[in-house]
Amino acid sequence: MGKRVGLEVTVAVAEAVALCRIDMAGVYPITPQSHIAEHLSNLVADGKLDAEFVTVESEHSAMSAVIGAAAAGARVYTATSSQGLMLMHELLPIASAMRLPITMAIANRAVSGPLNILNDHSDIMPQRDAGWIAVFAENGQEAVDLSIAAFKIAEHKDVMLPVSVNIDGFQLTHMVEPVILPSQEEVDAFLPPFVPHATLHPSNPVTMGAFSMSDYFTEIMKAKDEAIKNSRKVILEVWDEWGRQFGRSYKPVETYRAEDADILMLTMGSMGETAKIAIDELRGKGVRAGLVKLRLWRPFPFAELKAAVKNAQKLIVTDRAVSFGGPGGPVFSEIKSALFAQARRPSIYNYIIGLGGRDMAVSDFVGMFDQVLADRAQAKADTYEFWGVRE
């Protein structure tokens, strides 16, 4: 049986990754991810985890090293944040094109400049089109559960794609939370050994990452797009299986008090927990408010999102990043695009919140609801604004 322990979330994630019996980790430390690297390195040094911990000299090398090790047939792991993820960017589409199952934690942090080490989603958003499955955790338990499930999704024979598990920097990574860590036996029962689709081996030479001209490039991109779309089925299966075995189930889109809601708010990551408290407060005042949490960012869960918002009059989309000079926050753009062809859809409002670690209190979430409820003429629908910005 698993045990309930109080752990810093990064340490809990590293423990969970060790339970997955990784063969290799290539991690470069960066705030606020560093404790994952540190704890994994400790586990290897103490002989508790039989894995190669490669002390790479940069995140570009970290991603290169895990790509190489995955190609050789190893179960691999890496973790990064912000500038580190930006440095990895060049390699991310290569890992997915080579269909290598790599699991990576992203301790979400604002991208420079100016330099800021605190939380928002401006690091993951530019990676949207890299061909990686991307999931978001709301608390420490979810970070643990989704990390273990990520290996199973990534390595499934019908998926073979890299997965990023997004964990809000500091708000989650540096919290000490009660977490149920599964036992080794439980994880072994859940996660079968990795069977690669091909491996680099001198006695059976293959070429991976070969050159392609225009005569094949379109077909390769189409195959990659279909691969990530098809991963949806496996993601649902694996999360259901997790739920059956561990009693905590996950869905691509999750809701809270949304069934009869007139007004919904959409969040990704840790802010969902604060939003829930705001919703309880509003419900107490007779406002039919509800929450929609987007857990799965890629592949985008179109059907689940449409179903979750179909009865609402208004939908507030919160964004943790800016698309400068664009149509609104990156999540807002996706949601609008997903709902565009619906015969009936809620009016959509966009707030860019919590940038560079700016605190978002319950009163901020209530304030956004109040502002949108007061907009009876819907003058602010389909527009975006920076919540709390000093004018």
Partner: protein, 92 residues
Amino acid sequence: MALKTWKELPIGCVVFEPGSASEYHTGSWRSQRPVWDDAKCIKCGICYVFCPEGCVQQGEDGFFKADMNYCKGCGICAHECWPRAIKMVEEG
């Protein structure tokens, strides 16, 4: 060779047949071909050394020629040939 559809591609486009790149005839890219004038050639082999494709070969008689299946017509052999025995000629 019939081109595969997207459904027929192996996962991750892994190439399982070693050396199969030789089936791809890069000579089809060529717009100019190198022509050797054996009267000027001193058999020094500089064309052989510099050919980036490795497609210049020495014949039994000691003179050189390029394998037109792979020669891209880059002209490096003609540029390096100091007795000026190689001329680049437009492909018809």
